[in-house]
Point group: C2
Chain length 358, copies 2
């Protein structure tokens, strides 16, 4: 997708629904971990077009407590064993999959086969093949598939995209994007069969996705270096740090960092006349932008949004369902990231640059 | 050189001369371009142990005007044709070579053969072979050879080294170092026969040298990607941007940027407990340090020095001559950078990681 096309699609975000929707889209939340229960579920309160109608969990106590808290009747609470029964529940329009990465594909495909639209957390899956199978399943079912790239619904990131694409600091020549945190031991993210990989799958994907949405281009070459202390019990099966360099068709290079041992949350777009910096860039809240242009460095603040990034993301899929439009971050967006992630791992393993696509 | 050795050597900088010197060391300035005339020559006024005693230039008008300004008699003004006559001038203890890069080796060697100590601007030369020849010539003459790495004499950079080596934010895991500026056309730096290369030789060397002095380690592997628009008339013979990843024996990765089309001057050392950031990191003046530790981000300011980085650098070689010590940035330091620079160019050209040394 070229810069113009992506820009046009972005412009439609939050522009409202042309035909006023008559009802709210009902979501089933699949997986009741901390991201689901602390970030996603509370934010339905800020949605115009979306509501929680069902819960799916392997832990009966969670179904009981969150069911009571959100007023979900017992008929709308599911275990994974009876997940496929969502087919028979007309209140469920869509599922939001917030499971360990390696389970995304199975549940997205089963949801599509049950006739439901799908929102799936990133990374979309743990392989290109799984991403392609998910896209095929949703297409066959005639249902929407969207990936949870929340930053695309966040005002600072949207302003950064607009400024960069508009040439605010001249043509882009170089981007730096860094994401990382010191990870705590003993969690599924450190277990490769569940996570599919280490920091790259979890937090490095923010650096990658930012480089893609800031340029509006697809990288044609990736060069990556990994550094992992395998004596650290956290990193027995997954990588710690990966630095990766993306080459885009325009000649832009993106220098990206993914880390499970150091704290990073920033990107900076360098044009010929200055730079646009975000630090932090992609937290749940508290983004900050600084622009350097003509030798002057100053903060920049977009107008406060009507709803936060979580509510806007949930509403976006709902609006797409109600008006039969394609989400700005469809399955193809998750697939595009996964293609690059596979190339990053290949480059790091082989010690050479890897071409992508064609 | 290990971290401990480098730290001990650093501790001796500016600690004064044990045997009080009885005279100031006389420098001949070789090359009267803007760095020599605007940055170096005015700063002799702040030196305790160094003074200008001679000038070398191919432009008679410059010899006249700067000779008059600095009170250099006509007997102490030289053209390049009669450069070797400095041998017969006992007032000249040392020469400071501030010529286009590809001329460094020739004049450093001729100066050593004339029995003079040498201060040489960075990059030391344009090849490992030239660096080795310069070291051999100075050694044969029994004279000092020092490279103009001024940041090693600058208080913020010295504080950064001390904090990092002392584990202030935990063990170092990752470093970013970025240097670049949009270069103006029509200058010797863009003419490969004179410069030996593009941004990497000129400004990227600051990123490389910082990664080495902050870790106190020598990189064992380099992975580099170049991006140059050869249609831009500035970049007909030299590179624009190079991003390079250095792997150190401890497992630290340094993500470095060199650019002739975008503005950068920063580095950040990421430890397991936070980071130490410098932006700007290596300007002539105005360094700024920020430290993030235990979730708190705050500025940090070292005590004001008795003399600035330029005077301290000039005095350091003078002190080493007067007390017969080895400079903290001897020819071997320039050679070490040049080894990595050759590997960076090789990696970028071949699209693969390149092992260094051993």
């Amino acid at each position: 997708m070229g810069g113009l096309g992506a820009g046009l699609m972005l412009a439609s975000v939050g522009s409202g629904v042309s035909a006023a929707p008559t009802r709210k889209i009902g979501y089933a939340i699949v997986g009741l971990g901390s991201y689901a229960t602390r970030q996603i579920m509370p934010n339905f309160a800020g949605c115009e077009h979306a509501r929680i109608v069902a819960l799916v969990s392997g832990t009966p106590a969670k179904l009981d407590s969150y069911g009571a808290e959100y007023g979900i009747p017992k008929t709308h609470r599911y275990s994974y064993a009876d997940f496929d029964r969502i087919r028979d529940n007309p209140d469920i329009d869509a599922v939001y999959i917030i499971l360990p990465n390696s389970l995304h594909a199975e549940y997205a495909i089963r949801a599509a086969q049950a006739g439901k639209h799908v929102m799936c957390e990133k990374p979309m899956a743990t392989s290109v093949a799984d991403c392609q199978a998910m896209i095929a399943a949703s297409r066959k079912a005639g249902k929407k598939l969207m990936i949870g790239y929340r930053s695309r619904f966040e005002p600072y990131n949207r302003l950064a995209i607009d400024l960069v694409r508009g040439g605010h600091v001249g043509p882009t020549r170089l981007i730096t994007a860094e994401h990382g945190f010191p990870i705590k031991p003993d969690q599924w993210r450190l277990d490769k069969p569940l996570s599919g990989g280490g920091s790259m799958m979890d937090i490095g994907i923010y650096s990658l996705n930012a480089a893609r949405y800031l340029t509006g281009e697809e990288p044609v070459e990736v060069t990556a270096v990994e550094s992992t202390d395998r004596a650290d019990p956290r990193f027995r099966t997954v990588e710690d740090r990966i630095s990766f360099l993306l080459r885009f068709p325009s000649g832009v290079i993106a220098d990206c960092i993914s880390s499970y041992s150091t704290g990073h949350n920033s990107y900076r777009i360098h044009g010929t006349q200055g730079w646009i910096g975000m630090e932090p860039a992609t937290p749940y809240a508290g983004q900050s932008m600084t622009i350097r242009k003509n030798g002057v460095t100053a903060p920049r603040t977009p107008p406060a949004p009507a709803k936060n990034q979580f509510a806007a993301q949930l509403d976006h899929l709902a609006e797409c369902i109600l008006t039969d439009k394609t989400p700005i971050v469809p399955g193809e967006e998750g697939l595009a990231d996964m293609r690059v992630i596979e190339a990053i791992y290949q480059s790091a393993a082989q010690g050479r640059s890897v071409r992508i696509g064609a």
